[in-house]
Structures are given as C-alpha cells and as structure tokens.
C-alpha cells in the first residue's frame, strides 16, 4: 500500500534524478500555471529543482540552507533549512527517518494504478494543507500539493532514475554576481 511504498522508497532510494511537469490548478479546475523542469535529490536534506520553461527558477537545498534564485527578478532568497524545509514537499522527499515528526502519514489506496499515501504537514508554515504521493511499483510517479485556497500543484515525474551518481557540486549554490541576496 501507499505507506509501504513510501517506506521502501526511502529505504532503497537515497538519490533521485528526474524530469518533472508541474501544473497548478485552481478550485474550479482551471489551469493557472504549467512549468517543466528537472530535479535532483540526495538524502538527507539535499535537493535541487530547476524550473526551465516557460520561466526559469532554481530551488537548491544544500543541507544547511535553501536557496531560491529567480533570474528575471535577479533575486536570491535564502532561508536556513530548519525553518524552510520543515514540512515542505522537498522535505517530504529528501527527509530521512524523522518523517513522522514532520508529517502525519495515511494510506490512500490504489488509484489509476498508483499506490497513494497522504502526508499532512504538522507545521502549517509549509504553505500546504496536505500532500499526496503516488507510487508505481515503489517508485515515485506523482505528487499533489493542496494549499489552503483549494489550489492543487500536480507534479508528474518522468525518466526517474533511482540512486544515480550525483556530483556534489549540483547541491552547491553560489549567488550570481549582481543578484540581490535576501533573507536570513
């Protein structure tokens, strides 16, 4: 079931690389935003989400801080990982064994041949009311993030590689020169 898939996913996946397609839909099902990108993750706590098209944005967790770079705005927003990661979707994926401290997990059964689990962030700061993870044969396939306005961010992973060899530079972020650096 969903929780077993999540647990086994944690046990035998300590790194991921995948493409993703993200769609944000409002309460009436209207599409608000669509973006394509690629993500990489190294347990514990290191992750990188590169949004490529139609806009560019990078979210990098280096294990200590989370860096968010928006080239259009020429702004880097940085937060210490404990505050930012807490119960964010990235934490759910990059998290280690202390998952049940940050999330309440519930089985959601099988739907469109995925095993689903619901993860409810215990800390409301994450911006999401609830997160659903869909697994296909214990491999993460989809993620749904539901916010308090009834919007859903659906992230569909494809070309997911489990335990690829990731070079550690990937999770190092150095603010581009001239970019405004903001945050703690």
């Amino acid at each position: 079931d969903g929780i077993d898939s999540l647990k086994s996913f944690y046990q035998n996946t300590n790194a991921i690389r995948a493409q993703f397609h993200q769609t944000v839909v409002d309460g009436q099902g209207r599409k608000l935003q669509e973006v394509d990108g690629s993500m990489q993750l190294q347990r514990p706590g290191k992750f990188r989400w590169d949004y490529n098209k139609p806009y560019v944005q990078q979210i990098v967790g280096d294990g200590e801080k989370v860096w968010l770079y928006d080239p259009d705005l020429n702004q880097v927003t940085v937060r210490t990982i404990s505050k930012a990661l807490g119960s964010s979707p990235a934490a759910l994926l990059a998290g280690g064994k202390d998952m049940d401290k940050a999330f309440e997990l519930k089985n959601e059964g099988r739907q469109d041949n995925l095993d689903w689990v619901q993860a409810i962030p215990k800390d409301k700061e994450s911006g999401f009311d609830t997160i659903y993870l869909g697994f296909k044969a214990d491999v993460l396939n989809q993620m749904e993030l539901h916010d308090s306005f009834g919007h859903v961010t659906l992230i569909e992973f494809n070309k997911l590689e489990r335990n690829p060899k990731l070079n550690s530079q990937v999770f190092k972020f150095s603010p581009p020169s001239g970019a405004d650096l903001v945050g703690d």
Partner: protein, 205 residues
C-alpha cells in the same frame, strides 16, 4: 483616467512633449490584467514568486503565489468596501492595502499608486512627482508618494508601450501620514510576463 500634470524639474534625453505624447497614449487605460513574477526584499526577509493581478477603475484583485505554485495570499481592494486579504486560511480587513499587507505579510504593497505606476505613469492623485524618461518619452525613473520607481524594460502590448520590469524602492524616513512612524525600508520588483489591457476611448471634454 490620469490627468496630465507637468512633471517638475525634469532632465531627460527627450523633450517634455515626447513624454506628454507617451503619457497621452496610455491615459485611456483603466482596466488591465497582469501575470508576472513578484519579488520582495526587506531588511530581514525576502520573498519571490508569481502574481496575477486584475485592475478596474475602483477595484483591484491580486493573488500571490509561492515558487511552488501554492497560493500565498489574495488581496481584494475596492474604493467602497476597503481591503480584504486572505492568507493561511484567515481573512483580514482594513481600510488601506499598505497597512494591511504590512501587518499580515510583513511587507507593504502601495496599492494606492501602483495601478498607475505599473502602467508607467505618475499616479493621478496630484501628488508632486519627479520623473525622467527615455528618448521615446517612456518613464525610466519616477519618484512619488515615498517611492523611487525604476523602469528597466518596456514591452509592446495591444499597441501600448508598457513596462515589463519595474523596481520600487521605498524612500527612507518618508511617511505619508504624519502620525505613522517611518515605514521599514522595502524593495518590490515586478516582472510582467503577460499584459491584458482594456482602454476605453477618452471622454471628449
């Protein structure tokens, strides 16, 4: 629509007439929609994400999204029933957007002047302003009502020349109401990805 007022002590690479012509060309815009990216910088916190904003002559409705696409806040301001802000599942009300956003989001949104500023024109409520403009008369710098505004890029949208990149910096120590203590320093950045503009024909006076 915005009345044309002569901008004081102006130095520019084009004559005032070119600027007046440009301002006239956008004077008839009083409804617009914006989809874009918004960045906030204050002394100790930063935010960047995206926004969808629709403006009508007497009402504004703005949604702000986090980098992951989740909605952070909605702001609905209208001249007759004040401002309603929804965030984290709670609803807040006040008379003006600037104080309400400062209290609830920790940074202030100058909704009073912003609809004009974002179009690249001084706000009409006859506050004095100083401005500079480029060779085709488009505003490059404007300071008004406690804000220094920079226009670093323009784009053609439905036949109008409209700003694409805008940076608003609060002027230190300036407070509009004498009673207010000086509001904290803040930088707001807006990058417009999509303009939807409705311009009614100018009333013939």
């Amino acid at each position: 629509c915005a009345t044309m007022q002569p901008a004081a002590n102006v130095q520019s690479s084009s004559t005032a007439e070119v600027n007046q012509q440009h301002l006239k060309s956008i004077a008839s815009i009083n409804h617009f929609g914006i989809q874009g990216r918004i960045g906030v910088q204050t002394d100790n916190r930063g935010f960047s994400g995206s926004t969808r904003w629709s403006h009508a002559p007497d009402s504004d409705s703005m949604a702000i999204f986090s980098p992951l696409g989740s909605q952070v806040a909605t702001i609905d301001a209208s001249s007759d029933d004040g401002v309603i802000l929804v965030a984290d599942g709670k609803t807040y009300k006040a008379d003006d957007t600037e104080t309400l956003t400062q209290q609830t989001l920790g940074w202030r949104l100058p909704m009073q002047g912003l609809p004009d500023w974002v179009l690249g024109r001084p706000s009409a409520n006859n506050l004095d302003s100083t401005s500079e403009w480029d060779a085709s008369g488009r505003l490059t710098k404007l300071s008004q009502d406690g804000w220094n505004i920079e226009y670093s890029d323009y784009v053609a949208a439905s036949g109008f020349q409209l700003p694409r990149k805008i940076t608003l910096r609060s002027i230190d120590g300036y407070n509009a109401l004498a009673s207010q203590k000086a509001s904290p320093k803040i930088v707001l950045k807006l990058v417009v990805e999509r303009w939807d503009v409705i311009a009614e024909p100018l009333p013939i006076k």
